[in-house]
Amino acid sequence: MKVSVGTIARLVGAILLAAFLVRPEAFAPLFAPLTSNGAPPIYRQGNLLALAWSHFQIVVFATLASTLVAVSLGVLVTRRSGAEFLPLSRAVVNVGQTFPPVAVLALTVPLVGFGDGPTFIALFAYGLLPIFENTLVGIQQVPAAVTEAARGCGMTPAQRLFRVELPLALPQIMTGTRLAVVVAIGTATIGSTVAAKGLGEVIIAGLLSDNTAFIVQGGLVVALMAALIYDAMLAAERSIILRLGLPANERE
């Protein structure tokens, strides 16, 4: 019963999101009460669908990049030859997390200029910590008996990594990626302050023109997108965990 309610809510959310992005004008009456002095209730300075798409793209590419780097780093420092780098990598990604997003954005502007660049860098940097930490946990919690058996079967180090350790760490790595994606979707809106293409544009336009309707619709689209992606990724993770009978890792 409870499951089906959740599924219906998600379905309705997805349909509403799609409908709003494709035909925003249809929702104008809903947002009209939030405007004053005859301001437009729906953002028209740019195509909402295109903005949502580039918002989504930048999040996906940045998270892919941080997954690639964080997982490689996690693999490296769990090898015997990379163990020397473990304490420092841990400290660096932790300290990196204390950098506020606005600061990262603002400080990368002189390096790469205005546009998508600073946002990409900020999202990339923020994704590193959760994915790196989860990769570490995932690899370290592979039971010793299993890696031992893999060695005893005559697997080479590369075969052990790709056939045993990484597949077993996968659910944990996915947890990290999921947390990173949700944070990235929110942070990407701040990117619009340095001219990144994304849904932040709508919100900022609302702030500048004192139009609450813009703020609310921008916020809602981003929130809905984050919630739907979070749920989808959680479901994927659970299905893998369930199949493997691995201990569930709840880290919300």
Binding site: E148, A149, Q159, L168, L246
Partner: protein
């Protein structure tokens, strides 16, 4: 044939395995027994180079193992560990197929081999091949672990406390099955255990280890009859020597022909049972002798209390 000559392994200043030499003949089951920390596992793991010896030589069929790349060597040697170490993300069939895949066997040959092994270990292929390890009972997991070790038909199988995680009832069944499988496949097995009863039950030869050294390496009978060291006697349990001796003799082998003048005994034991079991039965029933029955249930001879006691006497 596995030959160890002066094998030593240091960890820091401490010799965990100290100058061990022994030979395991083809088709034999050698059991290395000792307390935890005696170096028995390290000794076993040096045979498939999971641990490299600090000095000494290990050879298999005359070939120095250090000349073979470690992963290639390991693919030719079965390995079973305590707690089975099954890959949780792979089905039973995929677990068993691990080494054949590493060796690049064709797909249909692997499939045939997997069902053959499942049958051999009394796991119905239809039911088990698609299951994941966490869906199996402890005993089933252990059998899959053995099947995985046997998959590529290795001449040598190394077993590190293979029954350690099983409860006592399943354990004795698993031990019997292992004995039967070995008899059928003729593999050379080196098994490590801390359980003296298991050693006596399974071993063609037993190596008793303590503090990195092999105190004695010989047949179970030697071990009881001529302990090389007081510590061996203590470990094998001198007080139980008689019973251990009886446990080593099958009733069928000790049976005497019937004497026509006396009436046949009213109770019986199977020929495959040990004299220890026969003695227990004699004590329980209060009889002076038992009939020994063959596989078909027909009496083939008898054992008397006196003859059982004679077998248990210190040689």
């Amino acid at each position: 044939m596995i030959r160890l000559e002066g094998v030593t392994r240091f960890y820091g200043e401490r010799a965990v395995v100290d100058d061990v030499s022994l030979v395991v003949e083809k088709g034999e089951m050698a059991v290395v027994v000792g307390r935890s920390g005696s170096g028995k596992s390290t000794l076993l793991r040096m045979i498939n180079r999971l641990v490299e010896p600090t000095s000494g030589l290990i050879s298999i069929d005359g070939r120095d193992v250090s000349t073979v790349p470690a992963h290639v060597l390991r693919r030719g040697i079965g390995y079973v560990i305590q707690g089975h170490g099954l890959f949780p993300h792979r089905t039973v069939a995929d677990n068993i197929a691990t080494v054949p895949r590493l060796l690049g066997w064709p797909r249909d040959r692997i499939a045939r081999r997997v069902s053959e092994l499942l049958e051999l270990l009394q796991l119905s292929p239809a039911r088990f091949s698609g299951q994941y390890p966490h869906q199996l009972s402890g005993g089933e997991q252990q059998r899959v672990g053995v099947a995985r070790a046997l998959a590529a038909g290795p001449d040598i199988v190394l077993m590190d406390e293979p029954f350690g995680a099983l409860d006592p009832i399943i354990r004795s069944k698993a031990q019997d099955d292992l004995k039967a499988i070995q008899a059928r496949l003729g593999a050379t097995i080196v098994l490590v255990t801390h359980d003296m009863d298991e050693a006596f039950r399974l071993g063609d030869r037993i190596a008793v280890m303590e503090a990195g050294r092999v105190l004695q390496y010989g047949t179970p009978r030697d071990m009881i009859a001529r302990p090389a060291d007081p510590r061996v006697a203590e470990l094998t349990g001198s007080g139980e020597g008689a019973l251990r001796l009886l446990a080593l003799v099958r009733a069928g082998d000790a049976a005497e022909p019937f004497d026509a003048s006396t009436p046949p005994p009213s109770h019986s034991v199977p020929a495959g049972a040990s004299l220890r079991e026969a003695l227990a039965s004699l004590l329980w029933t209060g009889e002076g002798e038992l009939a020994v029955t063959g596989d078909d249930g027909r009496p083939v001879g008898r054992v008397t209390l006196a003859s059982v006691l004679r077998h248990g006497r210190s040689p």
